[in-house]
């Protein structure tokens, strides 16, 4: 296959950035999208040009590091995939493909296609945990968890924190990410003691990090590589409302 790429090049956070056009040949349909980018980079290196910086690590769809907007679609047009698990068989010979970084105020560009997602860490640090020091846990089977609740919690806990939900959202909202963590913990008995405090604190951190509000367009769910459902956002709203109404502190 021959592919024409229009790739966002931006030297650093201060640079304005622009699209550059590249042609790559000898692309095989079994290649992943990132392997195709490897081919481009090898070509650029050998032409003594600056290779395209992009984030990637596990290349098996679980670490959440890869992050490209491909022809306007976060992680590409194939449903429920990460960029590393998108294969060139989903494209045609001669295609022109536009590749951009996640675009959101809370995710500033570091270089080219790599962005800074530490805002996600800050949201988790605001309460995405159960406060249990090592060594103080009770016997694991002393608290039964109904199987369906455990499964629902797992559905939410599968979030890989890639940020495609933010990139897909016209408001750059991270509500799907936030709601996945809040749901995971609110559904489990272990998460109950800090349930109210957690949702209020994490919501605040979400807003302070510069993420926008949710207007229920559903774009996040459509692009989530792990198929995290927006019913989690509905749950987040219920959790927040009930926590806020019953809080003894002003929210």
């Amino acid at each position: 296959m021959k592919i024409t790429l229009k790739v966002w090049r931006q030297k650093n956070a201060q640079d304005n950035g622009r699209f550059e056009t590249y042609n790559v040949a000898d692309i095989e349909s079994d290649m992943s999208f990132l392997e195709m980018m490897d081919v481009l980079n090898q070509q650029l290196i050998k032409d003594k040009k600056d290779p395209v910086a992009f984030d990637h690590d596990c290349r098996e769809g679980i670490c959440g590091m890869c992050s490209m907007v491909i022809n306007g679609h976060p992680h590409g047009h194939v449903k429920a995939t990460t960029t590393c698990q998108l294969h060139m068989r989903s494209f045609k010979d001669g295609d022109t493909i536009v590749v951009e970084p996640w675009r959101a105020k809370a995710f500033p560009v570091i270089k080219d296609l790599a962005v800074d997602r530490s805002a996600f860490d800050k949201v988790i640090q605001a309460g995405g945990y159960i406060s249990v020091n090592t060594g103080s846990a009770p016997e694991a089977n002393s608290v039964p968890v109904p199987q369906d609740m455990a499964e629902k919690a797992m559905d939410a806990a599968e979030c890989i924190g890639c940020g495609a939900c933010v990139a897909a959202c016209k408001n750059s909202s991270a509500m799907l990410f936030l709601s996945a963590k809040v749901s995971h913990m609110a559904l489990l008995p272990q998460g109950q003691p800090e349930r109210k405090k957690r949702v209020i604190s994490m919501m605040k951190a979400h807003d302070e990090a510069g993420f926008g509000s949710c207007t229920n367009t559903g774009a996040c769910e459509a692009y989530c590589p792990k198929g995290i459902s927006i019913t989690n956002i509905a749950r987040l709203n219920r959790e927040f409302l009930s926590a806020a109404l019953s809080s003894e502190q002003p929210v």
């Binding site: 030297k11 650093n12 095989e28 079994d30 290649m31 992943s32 990132l34 392997e35 490897d38 081919v39 650029l44 290196i45 050998k46 003594k48 290779p51 910086a53 984030d55 690590d57 596990c58 290349r59 098996e60 769809g61 679980i62 670490c63 959440g64 590091m65 570091i110 270089k111 800074d116 997602r117 860490d121 988790i124 640090q125 605001a126 995405g128 945990y129 159960i130 406060s131 249990v132 090592t134 060594g135 103080s136 846990a137 009770p138 694991a140 089977n141 039964p144 968890v145 109904p146 199987q147 455990a150 919690a153 797992m154 806990a157 599968e158 890989i160 924190g161 995971h184 489990l188 272990q190």
Partner: protein, 638 residues
């Protein structure tokens, strides 16, 4: 140098309990004044950093990824072992210990492994309390499944993403400590040297990967939780960034490197399809619970559609060769058997390097829904990569490099031979001998981080309470920084004609061909020469674009490959020295009836190597392994 493993006296069952009752402690007021650096944020690193933070130490944690949640522990699929005996099938701490020692082909240390089995029970309690959503039965209690090399069900799991859920549990505990101010996190930082002052590890030189700035960080102790070195083979199931650099720099500064040739080749990975491939993908070992491994009996059937090969023409070779364990033999044995049938010309893809993993019997017996519930995400992942539906056509699989049992030599305290420098998780060598059993890597990472190091590190730090914060203006820091800077400048200055990947690929081919699933003296000797030549060429002809003071992933890679080019030679030397076959190390000259032949009389030791200079013969130190509780025997899974 005399290696002292510092194994506590007493009965195996009492060693760890006695140790904890008598060991030194550091008071809460003094912990606040002690600084600890943790390199890596995977299961071992995140759990260690979080727990040391909870205890009150000042912790700095470093990872090269953009967030501690990305560490490659996240990709572990199948599960985590624990001797809970919830299934009432005869499991016990002793049995988990025994299975691990036997599975490791009697090349690990009894006391460490027993402690690991003891900690396994607490790990599950801890993770459940953190909210890890393990699979459960209808009654709400925890579910288990079986894994290779054992006859009990002791593996806890969260769908096919157990590593992800355990890591996110450790990450949440770490995040809590970051918020509390007890841990300071450095994302996108790579450790490029360890600083040793008066024989003790006192800090590191790290590169801020965004700005390129070199930073000095001092501490009273340094923990390396940096994972394995499987990427020396170029193609492996490791993440692209997984590397040996931190461990190798420590080795160069005096830490011994143990059993480097012990690498695990995992039997069930998606086969290589062509030369552009950047990495290999594992299909969880749990699939062998319900999948049957086979190849055609006749060579001429190998490329026929599998559905057209009648039952009597199929060779379910694992069931045939190892009837007691069948498809659930340990990984080294399953991998080697696949190599044997493929070498016989019965491999089922064009290249000849693949076998079938067939679920049709299980689907007939249990129904598609049950199989989908157990392995749905793995099947989906397979279909996405291989473009083939495993519900209808058997999966094609082949062994791939997955894990490294070797690593920095550590004593019972997890201390390397440099006081104050510790190695945890896959980065050390201690628990898995010559072969690791499935679902034991997660167990070891978390045992080391949550339960071992928080106790053992006090043996060192209790004597450091009078040491003030480490001053990073000392000469040793300046010297280490200058050396790091010099290497970066040298790499950028070569401006040769070959990319870093060209060299990495060439190294990987040497390692896979000559130090992979089967090794022999002639090949290993040749490999050493080839690696030396390749390394020389690297330092004359590598092309690293860009500058030092920017985000430069190619420069990062170049530094890592430079270290792999040294490690590869050590692996070959170790493999040549070990004139026996054991676990993942299979020497073609040492076999009996086609099976590996171990030599306990001459090789029942840990080979710990001391660095003497690049390209020079390293010095071998032996730690004899003493088995007081189990009697080494020929491992039989027949």
């Amino acid at each position: 140098m005399k290696l002292d493993a510092k194994i506590p006296a007493g009965n195996l069952e009492d060693k760890w309990t006695t140790y904890r009752s008598k060991c030194k402690l550091v008071s809460p007021a003094n912990k606040r004044r002690l600084d600890v650096i943790v390199i890596g944020s995977g299961l071992a690193g995140a759990s260690a950093a979080a727990t040391l933070g909870e205890l009150g130490y000042n912790v700095k944690c470093f990872c090269f990824q953009d967030s501690p949640r990305r560490a490659h522990s996240i990709a572990a699929q199948g599960g985590i072992n624990a001797a809970k005996n919830y299934q009432n099938d005869g499991d016990s701490i002793y049995r988990l210990f025994y299975d691990t020692i036997k599975g490791g082909d009697y090349r690990s240390r009894e006391a460490n492994v027993y402690r690991l089995a003891e900690a396994s029970v607490q790990i599950i309690d801890q993770c459940v309390a953190q909210g890890v959503p393990f699979a459960r039965e209808y009654g709400g209690l925890l579910a288990n499944r079986s894994f290779g090399g054992v006859q009990v069900s002791r593996t806890f799991y969260a769908r096919g993403q157990t590593g992800q859920q355990l890591l996110l549990g450790a990450y949440s505990a770490l995040s809590r400590q970051i918020a509390a101010g007890s841990v300071k996190m450095y994302n996108r930082h790579e450790m490029l040297d360890v600083v040793v002052i008066d024989g003790k590890a006192r800090g590191i030189i790290a590169r801020n990967l965004i700005t390129g700035q070199l930073e000095r960080h001092g501490a009273h102790a340094v923990l390396l939780c940096t994972g394995g070195y499987g990427n020396v083979f170029y193609l492996s199931t490791n993440a692209m960034g997984s590397n040996v650099t931190a461990a190798w720099k420590a080795h160069r500064k005096g830490a011994l490197f143990a059993n480097p040739c012990f690498t695990q080749i995992h039997p069930t990975c998606i086969p290589v399809t062509s030369g552009y491939q950047s990495k290999l993908t594992l299909m969880s070992e749990s699939l062998r619970n319900d999948g049957r491994v086979w190849v055609p009996k006749k060579k001429e059937d190998r490329l026929k559609p599998p559905q057209q090969i009648p039952e009597e023409d199929r060779d379910y070779y694992l069931e045939r060769m190892y009837p007691a364990f069948g498809n659930l033999v340990p990984r080294d044995i399953a991998s080697r058997a696949a190599k044997v049938v493929c070498d016989e010309g019965r491999g089922v893809v064009k290249s000849g390097y693949a076998v079938y993993l067939d679920f049709s019997d299980a689907i007939k017996r249990l129904g598609k829904d049950v199989i989908a519930a157990r392995y749905g995400n793995l099947f989906e992942m397979y279909q996405r990569i291989a473009d083939d539906n495993p519900y209808e056509t058997p999966m094609k699989i082949f062994p791939a490099v997955h894990y490294t049992m070797g690593g920095l030599w550590v004593d019972y305290d997890l201390s390397t031979t440099i006081p104050g420098l510790y190695a945890l998780g896959e980065a050390n060598f201690s628990d898995h001998g010559a072969n690791r059993l499935g679902a034991s890597a997660l167990m070891q990472g978390l045992a080391d981080g949550y339960f071992v190091i928080p106790v053992t590190i006090a043996q060192f730090l209790a004597d450091e309470i009078r040491t003030p914060p480490i001053n990073t203006n000392q000469a040793a820091f300046a010297e280490a920084q200058n050396n790091v800077q010099a290497q970066i400048d040298r790499l950028l200055g070569i401006k040769g004609n070959k990319s870093v990947d060209d060299f990495h690929m060439a190294l990987g081919k040497i390692m896979w061909d000559k130090c992979g699933m089967a090794r022999n003296a002639e090949g290993l000797k040749q490999a050493r020469k080839e690696i030396q030549t390749l390394r020389e060429e690297f330092w004359q002809n590598v092309l690293v674009p860009g500058t030092a003071n920017e985000f430069n992933p190619e420069l990062e890679k170049a530094g890592r490959v430079a270290d792999f080019l040294e490690l590869g030679e050590l692996m070959v030397i170790d493999a040549l020295n070990r004139e026996e076959s054991c676990g993942g190390h299979f020497r073609e000259e040492f076999t009996e009836d086609g099976e590996a032949k171990r030599d306990d009389a001459n090789f029942q030791y840990v080979a710990a190597w001391e660095f003497t200079g690049t390209g020079k013969d390293p010095q071998l130190h032996k730690e004899e392994l003493v088995f007081e509780n189990v009697k080494p025997s020929t491992r039989s899974y027949k």
